[in-house]
Symmetry: none
DNA sequence: AATGAATGAGTGTTCATTCAT
DNA sequence: GATGAATGAACACTCATTCAT
């Protein structure tokens, strides 16, 4: 999994350059966008919460939407980062014999990421419907590249005889919605409930694999 | 399923009383709220699209939020209507021997509803995060009543020996997210794709049942 | 004082023709105009309070301002009625030998009227500053006719040797503001206080007469 | 009277801090509120008259009512300032042997103030009936403190044998309405008439003192 | 880099008035 | 005569953005 770390660094370490005030602006914006939505959060509220002057926001971000994108675009990029590495199959081959193991590893990895970026992720999914640029990014990167990669991956495990003969796209959809269903319920709908994460993930992987696996 | 139809009628046919202009206002609002979001849609835009004066909106709805709720609350109510009938288990007993059959019937039924109320449903899920009243309604009705009913239902099929020994709540979550995953992908993410709905549903049911069923 | 009664009837008994609804509208308007002011009272609020439809108001009064004037103009007319009778001096001669007696009679008479028309009177003095028509009426009738009559009246008692040698206009101003001062404090500022009206009037008349009288 | 001047300065010279635009806004507001009334003056009209953008008004005053109060509250405070100094009696004792002298000094002093603040004072008395906060301030400061002080003052001159044996409250009312009657007629009703202020004041004081004085 | 006063278009809402029923 | 749905101009107020300091 060190490869992914590298990719992260490679792609996103520009954020180290944020000034102190900028950092506060971004934090305030994340908190408020998540809570009230982008459209219902005013720049003056963000400025007040961040403890800076209104003008300061526009010194760093040309427009309010720029501020949103500066939060949401990197989040989307990081979210899908594990899938955009070259030769993903090779990595998987070397590491995970079984679809089951791959699934579990991936869930754990993405869970780790979501746990730390929950608020930004919440903004991402809340705002995608309202911003064509975000929809575009989403389509281009997720709906096309990630899904395609995931499909090839399912084909890979199919060839190994681990997955039953359903259309790969359907298997991907089922796997993906099961995983995201778990993570959304866990972190968005009922974050305060008392979860045994390890066990819940295991059961979910078991159900998915039972669902699509060859006995 | 005639019982449900009756309940629908019983509960929601007050909407026949909408005046002509009111109807146009609601239609325009649904379209625009879904597209740009509640907060980014102005009442003047709605009025223009509906072909009425702006004041007319406020003659029928005290506030803009009232207009939103008049769209979204009934949608939520109708969405969960099948689950709030008394003696759901009896109905199921009489009709569906197998969890599989129940699942399929339910998906088909809810799919029918969603197909006709897609736009309002889209607004519902988009706006829930931003409106405490909606969150409250959602929690009270879905998170509590519907899930509880669903859990009892899973218990019911467990007793019949059809479902493996996993926590009922986990089974419900898995079933529900699989179903909603299907419907969301089908109707929200990729509505324009060429779907063989019947087949896709069958496959999904099969995967769920494989996932949680006893051999 | 029967002459005045006649004048009242003569001038203002058109109000008997008010329909039931119209009566309610006027009552509601008087109450609300007095409390919140003309500009801050909406016709819809008046309609609601009167229990009629908004349109009904405009059936009886072409505009909102018409409604105001229908309340305020007659009130002003009635207020000054005692002064517009012809041959006022003759009446006074016949009845009041002393300025003192005249003053007391007049205060008692106007007090009676104000007690019964307090609310409309309140509207009158509150709205005069904002409506040129009212200002005009006020100037034309009060500032010109009534004052002129009052001045002649003071001249009359001066000739009788009852009033010291100050400009009549000054004496009128002093008398009038003393009287209105009493009535305003009594009925507008501190209506709830415990007043011995008879005594207060007597003392006030005494002070005025001392102030301007010849020992 | 230098003591009062000091108090004025002390209490109200914070207004020097008004920015240029703010000053213009206040001036425009004063002019328009006086002419058309608070409720009938729109913020856009004020902005236009002041030569600023409408938003600028709300940068300095949270609400339209705030703007009103920023004009009217200090005016009320300044108006009653001479009465709130400690040891008013001592001051009077040292300076004015006779009630007559005190009255004249006070009228001259308040006349000076009113002459310079006529418009704001007009707003004050016009708007008091419509704004509970103002009524409250008025009651608390004028109806209670100032009147009470005035009553004690009359008692003071009574003890000196200068005032006849009428209830002090009645004497105060009579004095006050005579004075305000003069000033209102002079500056509000007939400001354009040709007045000999000095003489008018002298005559008024004479009438009051005759009215309540011991021969 | 940071400020915050200033902007003016735009917001949701209210208004007096009209008119078909 | 009475209604109340409909109007659109006007309202108080907010907004993202600019710019002189």
């Amino acid at each position: 999994m060190t490869e992914e770390k590298n990719i992260f660094k490679q792609l996103f370490d520009q954020e180290e350059t944020l000034t102190d005030k900028q950092q506060k602006i971004v934090e305030a914006a994340i908190e408020m966008f998540a809570e009230k939505g982008y459209a219902s959060t005013s720049t003056s509220q963000i400025a007040k919460k961040a403890g800076v002057a209104e003008g300061t926001i526009f010194r760093h971000y040309k427009t309010k939407k720029d501020l949103l994108l500066s939060i949401v675009s990197p989040t989307m990029a990081k979210l899908i980062a594990p899938f955009v590495i070259r030769d993903l199959n090779k990595v998987l081959d070397a590491k995970y014999d079984r679809y089951e193991d791959f699934l579990k590893a991936m869930i754990l990895n993405r869970q780790e990421f979501l746990k730390e970026n929950m608020t930004a992720f919440k903004i991402l999914i809340q705002e995608i419907p309202f911003h064509p640029e975000l929809k575009e990014q989403f389509k281009e990167h997720i709906a096309e590249k990630v899904i395609e990669k995931f499909v090839r991956l399912v084909d890979h495990y199919k060839e190994k005889g681990q997955i039953i003969d359903l259309p790969s796209y359907t298997v991907v959809r089922f796997s993906a919605t099961s995983i995201f269903g778990l993570l959304l319920v866990r972190y968005l709908f009922l974050p305060e409930a008392d979860w045994d994460d390890e066990k819940e993930i295991d059961m979910t992987v078991q159900m998915i694999v039972n669902g699509i696996g060859k006995g």
